[in-house]
């Protein structure tokens, strides 16, 4: 029952003839069939903040700024941007850019887009989170635009990378359905929309009037194959030339396979444990070593949090569970990111010290805990919590684990129903203010802070540092403050970082891809090996 790849590839020739997908000559050579791992929910680029949608949008649309492969903002439809005063950004727009319908791109389109974004009806995840800081738009000339913010807000260029520009000729309030049908799916991107079959595929043709580097592919078939095994099988059988999210279980094997090629990079997604900080009294899923009720929440004790953190053998999880498709983490961001704190290595595994810390905190015999996690959300989520269960049990914290379907899990996590639980966070901005503000700043609805701080960790000193960072306009100075804040949060074990995932793409061996930290799969970055 051992899988033989030779057989698979021999068969691929047959399958290739049958489906004509992998044919290597003639017009078909210019066709890329790629597989996305999750269904897109709309072609409307302002409907739903969702990575698969962003992947697709990157083919059809451009933003004023784009993220490069390492998630640093670079020029796109805007050629340059600068602060003219503390609260006003001026952007110079690229000249000679055409939309797919032939219309020329001007500042008018930017104003039109910014106006539409917050008003998309029924949006389950609005892009308004990126445009909200902008309170005023002023068209200086057709290729110059000024954006005013209410306060000092240095993240405007980064936020603009997420907002796709659509032409103002679409009229008042273009409907989401008209994007799905193709009528409104008009951007300035390297590919033109051809057709969309929900849950199945999007077909695209190269846009020959594109302003940037011409993509290699004449035609792109963007397929949706959520099943991990099926996606890998489709790559191996030659049905698909380029797949995203190669399962970690297959990556090690594929790396040594001559007929396929992998592109990988460390992602901005951190996997971490949240600990209940909302209760001083007993927390629901912790009891004493013999199952007796406790009168306090051990997780409020810094020593307990640290013990739980250093009891985790991160390299073992990375090597055994993630099969090398991650790097151990000691903070939000991977090395090399803006505002990464170099003096914060991943906490070293030290079971002996963990036991000592527990004893000091008054738990010489440990306690019982249930560790919760989703089982259908993050890469290997259910396996990770089981491994942590093993490790915690070894220091005397008798752990049972429970993996729950995401839909139910997230609702319960949002209600603070768990004591210790696994979550993930992808920093779309590629810098630390984003996770700091959302994950560890004190929960405060009025200020819009700590929105997903589910453990309700609160540290006024940290809040002050975060406030200072987001109002520091100078990049270098801000980076210092962000590093300081990160260090403070980690020293206090505000949460337990586990690892940064790696994004892995698989493709035919004659192709290359520029692996992106933001998980997007872009056909224009897939090219034949020179």
């Amino acid at each position: 029952m051992v899988v033989r790849y030779q057989a698979a590839m021999r068969g691929a020739v047959v399958a290739g003839c049958l489906v004509g997908a992998a044919a290597m000559n003639g017009a078909a050579a210019q066709t890329l069939t790629m597989a996305s791992s999750a269904p897109i929910t709309s072609v409307d680029p302002h409907y739903h903040t969702f990575t698969p949608n962003a992947s697709l949008d990157a083919h059809l649309f451009d933003s004023l700024l784009d993220m490069d492969a390492q998630s640093r903002p670079v020029a796109a439809l805007a050629e340059s941007w600068k602060l003219v005063d503390e609260r006003t950004w001026e952007l110079k727009l690229r000249q000679g850019v055409k939309f797919h319908n032939g219309a020329a791109f001007t500042a008018e389109d930017v104003a039109y887009t910014l106006d539409r974004v917050p008003r998309v009806p029924n949006s389950p995840g609005s892009f308004a989170i990126y445009t909200k800081p902008i309170v005023g738009v002023e068209i200086v000339d057709p290729h110059t635009i000024r954006l005013r913010t209410a306060g000092i807000y240095p993240l405007v260029p980064i936020d603009l990378t997420q907002v796709a520009i659509i032409p103002h000729g679409l009229g008042k309030d273009p409907a989401t359905e008209d994007f799905n049908s193709g009528k409104n799916a008009i951007g300035t991107g390297p590919f033109r929309f051809v057709s969309y079959k929900p849950g199945d595929r999007v077909e695209m043709d190269r846009f020959d009037g594109y302003w940037g580097k011409k993509p290699y592919w004449q035609h792109v078939s963007f397929r949706i194959i959520p099943n991990d095994g099926a996606r890998t099988a489709a790559l191996l059988s030659g049905d698909i030339g380029f797949i995203e999210a190669v399962p970690t279980t297959d990556a090690a094997r594929l790396r040594t396979d001559k007929r396929v090629h992998l592109a990988e990079t460390v992602s901005l997604r951190i996997i971490f444990l949240t600990l209940d900080q909302s209760r001083d009294g007993p927390t629901p899923f912790i009891t004493g070593p013999n199952g007796e009720k406790l009168d306090r929440n051990p997780l409020k004790d810094h020593r307990v949090r640290e013990a739980l953190s250093i009891a985790i053998n991160r390299p073992a999880i990375v090597e055994r569970v993630m099969e090398g498709a991650a790097i151990p983490a000691g903070q939000f961001l991977p090395p090399g990111s803006y505002s990464y704190a170099p003096d914060l290595p991943p906490p070293a595994y030290d079971a002996a010290r963990a036991k000592k810390l527990l004893a000091e905190a008054g738990f010489p015999n440990g306690f019982r805990i249930t560790l919760h996690g989703p089982n259908d959300r993050y890469v290997n989520d259910a396996k990770i919590i089981q491994s942590i269960g093993q490790m915690w049990t070894r220091i005397g914290v008798q752990t049972s684990v429970e993996g729950i379907t995401w839909s139910n899990y997230i609702a319960r996590a949002n209600k603070q129903e768990f004591s210790a639980y696994l979550l993930g966070w992808g920093s779309s901005s590629g810098e630390a203010s984003n996770p700091l503000r959302s994950l560890v700043a004190t929960f405060d609805a009025a200020k819009g802070r700590g929105a997903v701080n589910r453990g309700r960790y609160s540290n006024p000193q940290l809040d002050a540092l975060i406030d200072k960072a987001v109002t520091t306009a100078d990049d270098a100075a801000r980076e210092k403050v962000l590093q300081q804040a990160t260090k403070l949060a980690m020293d206090d074990v505000a949460f337990i970082p586990l690892h940064n995932q790696k994004n892995i793409w698989g493709m035919r061996s004659d192709l290359t891809y520029i692996a992106r930290a933001d998980e997007q799969s872009r056909a224009q970055d897939v090219r034949p090996v020179q």
Binding site: V2, A252, I317, R320, S387, V401, E402, T405
Partner: protein
Amino acid sequence: MSAALDIPAPPKEETPFQRFAREFADSKLAVLGLVIVLLVAVLAIAAPWIAPQNPYDLAQLDIMDGRLPPGSVSADGLTFWLGTDDQGRDMLSGIIYGLRISLSVGVGSAVIAGVIGSALGLIAAYAGGKIETAIMRLVDLQLSFPSILVALMILAFLGKGVANVMLALVIVEWARYARTARSAALVERRREYIEAAECLALPRWRVLFRHLLPNCMPPLIVIGTIQIARAITLEATLSFLGLGVPITEPSLGLLIANGYQYMLSGKYWISFYPGIALLVTIVAINLVGDHLRDVLNPRLQR
């Protein structure tokens, strides 16, 4: 019967059970099935004493032993005859415990559904009138929904868990018993012994459960056997879809689903052996049930 006859006629005092056993033994395949079923049942019941490892005890697992091929030896000298999964769980132990979960879910739900369904079916047949109409309408309603969808929705609402899976299976299964029990009881209640019992003015429940029920048992047993296999399959399917039992108490279905990810990377044993175990169990039960139907169904009797 005269002693002069030299044809060895079946002994006169053969009890119904002996006759049944003789007829059942006609099919070698069914006997083999029965042997396997008994073996599997013993394995499942004795799991804690025969499994080399308790696969649910996280303290006994070590991820450093993860994904070892069959026959590997752990650092502690334990041999993993069927290899290990990603958590370093001995697959043999996992399968034995998985059988335990799969069987208890299957048998448990079949028995509970059988008791509830048969009782309702008997009551319907015996009481007649409005009660019968009401119960049978409910049965029709239940049977007009596809079982997989009902189970899917129930589990989506209730969440994972062995008890929840059993509940879902009981809800989708009871109606079949009710229908079978009713039609069997309708035939039986016209028989003389029921009339006799009624003439003796025995309490109704006594007539119902002491006299009517035992005579309706054969078709119910056939249905029950087949339903056990169905329940095990359905549970495996639900677990495969991510709605069945929790990861900490893996049934065979969940073991298969977890291991499938490793099929393409050549670590076939994580999914393959649980698959075989599930297959053998279900086929064995169905072999028994299939032959039981032939033996107990008078219409097809030779």
